[in-house]
């Protein structure tokens, strides 16, 4: 059985809502190099300086331990790499109303959404990072697309909550052009967060 087959096999058993400890262990053991790359990229994103006090490796390791010891449970039908990504996301410090830092949500990875199981905005806790950090992050991110008007508008529209179709119509892009531009935006954001410079 290939690594990919092993990972799929454990996700298809409908006997319970969440994967058992052995299933999650087997699934992670079956991760391909590309799965680990996805996880690393997500960890780099969420451990960006100014947002999280942990190194990306710590975030990944903590997510693995919490998944393997059963503190976090992977809903059946959600791909395990996506689940680990969401566990890391949930470990990212949130704002404390008193000192403006470090609260944690234990529930974010349960808030899954089709098709990839990524957290839905509506169910996400309303404090994610300090207001100042949030403003700074968005301003910096918009600045990454200086000179790339369409990409900048796509990113700004996206973070302002415009839906895909609405945004595509507004930008007068075909679906292919829109998808391509969106990938460009994501790659540039990834590249920025992976450089580790706030």
């Amino acid at each position: 059985m290939s690594r990919r087959d092993a990972k799929s096999a454990v996700s298809d058993d409908p006997s319970s809502d969440t994967l058992s400890l052995e299933e999650i262990r087997a699934a992670i053991d079956g991760f391909s190099d590309v799965d680990w790359l996805r996880i690393k990229k997500a960890a780099l994103h969420f451990s960006f300086p100014g947002r999280c006090h942990h190194e990306w490796e710590d975030l990944r390791n903590e997510a693995l331990v919490r998944s393997l010891d059963g503190r976090r449970k992977c809903p059946r039908g959600v791909s395990v790499p996506t689940f680990i990504g969401n566990v890391m996301r949930s470990l990212t410090p949130e704002v404390d109303p008193i000192d403006d830092h470090v609260l944690r949500s234990d529930d974010v990875e349960f808030q899954q959404e089709e098709p990839s199981g990524v957290t839905s905005l509506a169910e996400t806790p309303d404090s994610l990072t300090s207001n100042l950090d949030a403003k700074r992050m968005i301003t910096t991110a918009i600045g990454l697309f200086e000179g790339e008007t369409i990409a900048q508008m796509l990113f700004a529209g996206n973070v302002d909550g415009m839906e895909g179709q609405e945004l595509r119509d507004c930008l007068e892009l075909s679906q292919t052009e829109f998808d391509s531009k969106r990938k460009f935006v994501r790659r540039r954001l990834n590249a920025h967060f992976e450089r580790r410079t706030p």
Binding site: W36, L64, D69, L121, A134, N190
Partner: protein, 144 residues
Amino acid sequence: MTTDGKKAARDQVVRMDNLIMDDLFSMSDEELLREAAENGIDVAAVGVEGQKAFERAQQIVGRNRLALVRQEMSEDEKKSPIPVDREKAQSEVNAILARNREMSKKLTMAARNEAGELSDDMDGILDDFVELGAIAQGGKDKDA
């Protein structure tokens, strides 16, 4: 900044996260490999490092479980023994075993690890029956 302004800033970050996570975890392996090649990322090395992290995480989880078992055992040892009228309880156990001949054979064999005398393990069997609730702490068989 107004409350709405604060929430708006956070929501923007959440939406940015969604955009990144959505793309990252839905794009094909081939696409991600192509992107990694363009960026000069050694994907195999990332995989090896990930596997090592997984193995370390398993060790940590194993150690934590072991520590928990040790703690539970230590707490069990500290518990005061259950007060039982041994003589009365023993006759109740004998009565239970007599009513369940087949079970009696299996139980006593298992208790003795298939060796030695039944009486050697009577204390252990009594404790088990009390713990299971088959015999009340005063020595009364609940099924009787």
